[in-house]
């Protein structure tokens, strides 16, 4: 294979892997939007909060240490132990479920039957509340996620692909981030698991039922409140996965919450109500922005990745406003 073709393949592969991470964030949005018609602005901050909690719990940080120190004049920071990664992940998942219960109890329950825009505003409030809570609990330092995820490129893949080019071309082989591969596998498992769960279990059917018709769901005995807690819990755990992956890639910092903005064009492409749509949309955006940067980028001065996704979404809106797989026109947001 000529080097140029190999380069193109590498760009597409990397695009697919970035796309998977976008899709992970978008997935959380779709879950909540389907079940309750709420566009959850806080999804990105939930990913940040989950990542902060994961790192904090694992490193044995004392929650609210700054607050306690300020109030009591102590100098506490760490418990002095570290938790195994698995334990920290399970505990963080537990925290996200508690968060879901709190959101239902203190937010959703009081806003039943309100206009979608009011619910949207409420989630903006929730986003800032969570961001502050994360800061207060775990501090504002940039942290690294160390849960045993592999880092760096795959040498094996590099050597393998080196052999594909003509021997005298001086081709170095393809660079594939090991973390991206892990993220892809985990995201894939997550989507397959969620799909099976929603197709073949009683709770899965209940989730789909609530997405379709609230009154009919109530009439067969489904509690809307229970379903909201379940969807927000699942979205919280998806946020945990997304937060851990992005955190491992670029460190846990407050700008992590901005990945929510990258999920928007993904949702516009895939449709707000479709889980497969979130995946396909994520992949299209990921591959699209890498390819665009690779082919057109050099001609127009590069840095196209910052805006390509949004322009693509804009073009898409003109032709198919409900997205590739969406059911409803997104005006409802």
């Amino acid at each position: 294979m000529p080097v140029a073709a190999l380069n193109l393949v590498e760009v597409i592969l990397n695009g697919l892997m970035v796309g998977v991470l976008y899709a992970l964030v978008a997935l959380g949005f779709v879950l909540i939007f389907k079940a309750s018609g709420i566009f959850n602005y806080a999804q990105g901050v939930m990913a940040l909060f989950a990542a902060l909690t994961l790192v904090g719990l694992q490193s044995g940080q004392i929650p609210f240490a700054h607050l306690i120190n300020a109030a009591l004049g102590t100098d506490l920071h760490y418990f002095g132990w570290t938790l195994p990664a698995v334990v920290a992940i399970v505990l963080t998942a537990g925290v996200m479920v508690l968060l879901a219960i709190a959101v239902e109890r203190f937010l959703l329950r009081h806003l039943v039957n309100q206009e979608p825009i009011i619910l949207f505003m409420a989630t903006i409030g929730l986003a800032y509340f969570l961001e502050g809570l994360g800061d207060l609990m775990w501090g504002a330092d940039v942290r690294a996620v160390e849960i045993g995820l592999p880092q760096g490129g795959s040498l094996w893949f590099e050597e393998l692909t080196q052999g594909w080019a003509p021997a005298d071309s001086g081709y170095w082989g393809m660079y594939i981030d090991k973390l991206d591969v892990v993220a892809t596998v985990i995201a894939g498992l997550l989507v397959v698991g969620l799909t099976l769960f929603s197709q073949y279990t009683k709770t899965g059917r209940a989730l789909r039922a609530v997405a379709d018709d609230h009154q009919a769901a109530l009439s067969v005995g489904i509690s809307l409140r229970a379903i909201w807690v379940i969807t927000w819990s699942i979205a919280g755990i998806v946020a945990l996965v997304a937060g851990a992956m992005w955190g491992a890639k670029s460190g846990v910092q407050f700008s992590l919450s901005l990945i929510a903005l990258k999920a928007l064009p993904v949702l516009i492409l895939g449709g707000f109500t479709s889980i497969p749509g979130a995946i396909v949309g994520g992949l299209i955006i990921g591959v699209g922005e890498k390819l665009f940067e690779f082919t057109i980028g050099p001609m127009i001065g590069g840095a196209t990745e910052n805006w390509f996704a949004y322009v693509l979404a804009l073009v898409f809106l003109m032709f198919r406003p409900q997205g590739l797989f969406g059911e409803r026109i997104i005006e409802r947001v």
Binding site: K202, A211, V220
Partner: protein
């Protein structure tokens, strides 16, 4: 009573029992508008009870009170010998009250089979942990309930559309699937909100037959709202007549038919 058993068994003798549900002096207001004013009536076990009346008489509101969508400001609701406090609709479904809707409320994205399976919700007890594992108890429960659902599909003669997303079905069939979903709950009391609205004569005949069959074969108590007077008089045991939120008649179809207040309400005599 299980639907599964009842379908196979020969139709038992129809037997009307004691009072299953009693509404005592129900008043329901929306702001300044009184939708239901001081209405009392009862529903006996095993009967087909119709609620009729002109548009805006409060029929649908009454059904919504029974299944908990609305909470009356005054009055008492007694179900199976116990006074019912203010309950949320999904809890009332768990007590054994199922319903259909005037404007079909099916889960449009789901197949006929899944819609009716959702009707089994109150009969499936395994928690999320078992469901997530799938193998074992949750799987057995799923299959057992699936059998009941298949019996209902046979009963309603909708085998051909088992896997079809209900959004694609014609109106009459959607109504039938909705009846199936309510039946799947094996309810103590089945509420039907205008089961024949918008149907042609043939579809109406089919639906009347299904309602009678459900009542006879499963012994299900049915309370229904219907506009078509002919149908109501044919299939119901007792009829309660509402007009402007008040009760103006109550009794057998023959009694109601000759009741002067009812005739006035239907023929539009000025008050």
């Amino acid at each position: 009573m299980t639907a599964a058993g009842a379908v196979v068994a020969a139709a038992p003798e129809r037997r009307i029992g004691g009072v299953l549900m009693e509404m005592k002096n129900i008043t329901l207001r929306f702001g300044g508008v009184t939708a239901i004013k001081d209405i009392s009536f009862d529903i006996r076990e095993g009967e087909i009870r119709a609620i009729i009346g002109p548009n805006g008489a409060g029929k649908s509101s009454m059904l919504n009170v029974i299944n908990g969508f609305y909470h009356p400001q005054e009055g008492e609701i007694w179900f199976r010998g116990a006074k019912r406090g203010p309950m949320r609709p999904h809890a009332i479904a768990h007590q054994g009250i199922a319903r259909t809707f005037q404007n079909i409320a099916l889960f449009k994205g789901m197949s006929t089979l899944d819609n009716i399976m959702t009707g089994r919700f109150t009969h499936m007890k395994r928690n999320m942990f078992w469901q997530a594992l799938w193998k074992g108890p949750a799987e057995r429960e799923e299959y057992a309930n699936r059998e009941v659902v298949e019996k209902i599909i046979d009963f309603l003669q909708i085998q051909a559309i088992r896997k079809t997303p209900v959004g694609r079905l014609p109106y009459g069939l959607q109504k039938r699937v909705e009846l199936g979903r309510a039946l799947a709950a094996e309810p103590k009391l089945l509420l039907l909100d205008e089961p024949m609205a918008g149907m042609n004569v043939e579809e109406k005949e089919d639906m009347s037959r299904f309602i009678l069959d459900v009542n006879e074969e499963f012994g299900t108590t049915i309370a229904l709202i219907e506009h078509d007077m002919g149908v109501v008089m044919d299939i119901s045991d007792r009829v309660v007549v509402l007009d402007y939120g008040r009760k103006i008649g109550d009794g057998t179809p023959d009694e109601v038919r000759t009741n002067p207040a009812v005739i006035d309400a239907y023929l539009g005599v000025s008050h």
